[in-house]
């Protein structure tokens, strides 16, 4: 009971203090619009929504969550308010879960606008709604955990932002979002399969078009495994680096 009170209040505090601030809400709305507009200008014609749907959803989640969590945690560490959480009698696993839950919800929120517009306005067809929701949730979790992993190494807020970009931009091109992995140079292809986002994107593609590069079971297995690996390795490094 005591732990659940702490969990809920950390989540609520983060939502109020960071995620529900007007600039962040507008980010969740404006950013997907900008991506869609960019696609439209690039093709100079009405684009095939099913082709870009998964890309816009994935990028909205990836760009929203990775930087948000790494920046908020680094900011709290810098201002030393994070110490308060470490000094409280809360299990580290629960504390970190509370911190990442806010960012996961923010990632899911970021995906709502592109999904709604694609489906309601552009009349995109979704092959499997359950897998779309699963894909969005898993991609939000994995992107958030990448943000957590980044925050372990960052000491300053600008470092968190720089590291986030360092991870995110190559990932966009390597995860099969715009260029199929099979079309990438053979030497680079193994790198793509080491990225957790690759599997999340593949689930999204499957949910929309019914077609994907890997088997859906394999995708789910890899994403869930990556989630555990990232969560526990982050936890390990937090204990090692932050409680010195």
């Amino acid at each position: 009971m005591k732990q659940s009170i702490a969990f809920w209040n950390i989540l609520l505090k983060d939502m109020k203090n960071y995620y529900l601030k007007p600039p962040n809400i507008s980010w969740g709305i404006v950013f997907p619009f900008a991506w869609m507009l960019m696609m439209f200008i690039r093709t100079r014609t009405v684009f095939n929504i099913e082709e870009v749907f998964s890309g816009i959803v994935a990028m909205s989640i990836l760009f929203g969550t990775t930087s948000m969590l790494s920046v908020t945690i680094t900011f709290e560490r810098k201002s030393r308010s994070f110490e308060r959480l470490l000094l409280a009698p809360i299990r580290m696993e629960l504390l970190i879960t509370a911190k990442i839950t806010g960012a996961i919800l923010f990632g899911i929120f970021n995906s709502i606008i592109p999904v709604l517009f694609s489906v309601l306005y552009f009349k995109a067809a979704v092959a499997d709604w359950t897998m779309l929701v699963t894909g969005i949730i898993l991609l939000s979790i994995i992107s958030t955990l990448l943000g957590l992993f980044i925050s372990v190494s960052a000491k300053e807020v600008f470092e968190a932002q720089t590291y986030s970009n360092f991870f995110r931009f190559p990932m966009i091109f390597l995860c099969g979002l715009f260029i199929p992995i099979s079309a990438l140079p053979v030497l680079i292809q193994p790198l793509s399969y080491l990225l957790p986002v690759t599997y999340g994107v593949d689930i999204l593609k499957y949910s929309i078009t019914g077609d994907n590069a890997l088997s859906i079971v394999l995708d789910l297995a890899f994403v869930i495994t990556f989630c555990f690996v990232l969560f526990y390795s982050s936890l390990f490094f937090i204990k090692k680096k932050w409680i010195i």
């Binding site: 702490a6 203090n17 030393r80 110490e83 959480l85 470490l86």
Partner: protein
């Protein structure tokens, strides 16, 4: 002997080749104010960090009321409140919300934490600023709210790392009064400070820490008495004495067990390695028609004791801290 609430056994902290805290052992009794004094880099904050679970222990053991911190840190953290050397609450939240949030971290129900937050704002005289954002608080107000936040769950032990530097005199005084009041209500207080006068005024027992080692540990009175090499009585006369040397020599002949000298024209210093019986000297001076305004025993301070045992000049220590 009172019941011990904190026990540190052979505590050591190493950072690679550097030993920040070197095999220190001490006990803190239930309900006492225990002070850790030392210059910059002595290992005070490292010790507090180890005691509160913010730093890993390289060697040794810490027990809180019998709970082994190394084995059950989270259980131990339930009974402690920690005030770091810098105010570390949330800038964007109000004072009241900060307190409520801190209460939730210790599992207090909504009603419990709201009532406690109101009480604490009242005790710390911050009611009017309760709804203002923390970032708008003055340094003194921030410090007070940070202490209040550490008390939200009624901890048995309160750790205070440098509670008063850089804040206004009134706030510092209020904080010291609050520490005393808390202690009267049986909260054990563990504080580090570089204000020796503060430690002398507040602490029951003090440990002098230097280069990671405890040099001395005892009650404030015992430390002061141990620092006393000689007994000094200052006698202030109404009239100035022109022939000071002769006057002093005459007194020394009369009372060979003391050493008399003039501090200035009207103040006589009477020094002895043994306890001085002042009455014959006073009588003698009166018989010489010398009117005595005041005779006072000069008592060494904790600062004298600190300088004696650590060899560190206080002014240098203060300057270092202020620079920091």
């Amino acid at each position: 002997m009172k019941e011990k609430i904190i026990e540190a056994r052979n505590l050591t902290k190493k950072y690679d080749d550097f030993t920040a805290v070197n095999d220190i052992s001490f006990q803190v009794e239930k309900g006492e104010i225990f002070g850790l004094l030392g210059p910059n880099g002595a290992g005070k904050t490292t010790t507090i960090n180890m005691l509160t679970g913010m730093a890993k222990i390289s060697a040794g053991k810490i027990y809180y009321d019998g709970i082994d911190l190394t084995k059950n840190m989270k259980k131990a953290q339930e009974i402690i409140g920690v005030v770091a050397d810098e105010s570390n609450l949330y800038d964007e939240m109000s004072g009241y919300d900060n307190l409520c949030f801190c209460g939730s971290l210790y599992g207090l129900s909504k009603t419990e934490r709201e009532n406690k937050a109101k009480d604490l704002l009242n005790i710390f005289r911050l009611n009017e600023a309760g709804n203002a954002k923390f970032k708008a608080y003055s340094k003194g107000m921030k410090r007070k709210l940070t202490i209040a936040a550490a008390l939200i769950h009624n901890p048995q032990i309160l750790f205070l790392d440098e509670p008063t530097p850089g804040i206004d005199v009134a706030s510092a005084r209020q904080i010291r009064d609050l520490i005393k009041t808390l202690n009267e209500k049986n909260t054990t207080v563990f504080l580090t400070t570089h204000y020796i006068e503060e430690a002398e005024r507040l602490c029951d027992r003090v440990a002098f820490l230097n280069k990671g080692k405890i040099i001395m540990i005892d009650t404030v009175n015992n430390l002061i008495n141990a620092a006393k090499d000689e007994n000094l009585i200052e006698v202030v006369l109404k009239e100035k004495i022109s022939e000071k040397v002769q006057f002093a020599l005459k007194l020394n002949e009369e009372f060979p067990y003391v050493n008399c000298s003039f501090k200035n024209d009207d103040t006589l210093n009477i020094i002895s390695s043994k306890q001085i019986d002042i009455s014959p000297i006073v009588n003698h001076l009166s018989s010489q028609n010398k009117f005595i305004i005041e005779a006072r025993l000069h008592r060494p301070s904790l600062e004298d004791a600190f300088v004696k045992w650590t060899g560190i000049e206080i002014d240098l220590m203060k300057k270092e801290k202020e620079k920091k």
